[in-house]
Symmetry: C2
Subunit: 161 residues, 2 copies
């Protein structure tokens, strides 16, 4: 089930969010991000949205979406996803991306854009491509992966209209 | 002369900053941005920098630069420029971009990236290309220009190492 984020959810989000951020191998967040800072960037005020994927009482993943830019750029959405590594391979990520695509379409965005998908995050790149996203361009060496070194950051894009 | 921004400079920056933002034809800022909001986004705290171009007592333009992303993306700089339209054609923009390139190199960034250069802003695109930037990709229709309609947003990139 995917539903809007509620305040009480953070206690279940932060443990895997922290694990993902500390690893520093997918997102361009500070690897020493605190729980409060993470909550600030993740929990969106309207017109943005934050949602969670649950299975019974377990929270397995979360997504946030909002305008990618302001003013003359606000018709394009941006989104990010976090899935509990312990819950991998169960379709949680795919369900969250599919939900986000439909929600952004319903919300009237003309496209969905990811600004910084690490080329080393092959699983995510493949999933996004399967769901229709195209790599618009790759900024060379823009992501410093802890073991692979400097890898590209893809800008990925899906038209919604 | 290009020097660090000082608090008293805002009185000379805001009039042309406001004119540029209200026009909505170059930057993805809210077109109803207030002076306080603009100052908040423009004036960078360290390690970011904000500088101004002056000619005698006149302030003709300004630039800001900072890490484009956090954590594993913080080795790439981002920068933005605003030149008083009344001072156009006098090399102010070019001087600010050249200064920024050198400053970012000195500050140890490995590259300089612009995330959203409106394809309709031909003057800026040409200037950046002359100074060595390449268009890494163009997000189709991501900028809603007031007269040209939906145009692309270029991601532009210059290696500094």
């Amino acid at each position: 089930m995917i539903r809007p984020f509620e305040d009480a959810d953070w206690a279940q989000v932060w443990p895997f969010f922290e694990q993902i951020v500390r690893a520093g191998d997918t997102y361009t967040y500070r690897t020493d991000l605190t729980s409060d800072q993470a909550r600030e960037v993740w929990v969106q005020a309207p017109p943005g949205r934050t949602v969670v994927f649950t299975e019974g009482s377990q929270l397995l993943g979360t997504a946030e979406m909002c305008p990618n830019r302001d003013g003359p750029g606000a018709h394009v959405a941006n989104a990010s996803f976090m899935v509990d590594p312990a819950a991998g391979g169960r379709g949680t990520g795919r369900a969250l991306v599919e939900f986000t695509i439909e929600q952004c379409r319903t919300d009237g965005y003309r496209a969905l854009q990811f600004n910084a998908v690490a080329a080393s995050n092959r699983h995510a790149v493949r999933l996004y491509e399967r769901l229709g996203f195209a790599i618009v361009g790759t900024v060379p060496g823009a992501f410093h992966h802890p073991t692979e070194g400097y890898v590209g950051l893809h800008v990925m894009h899906l038209p919604l209209t």
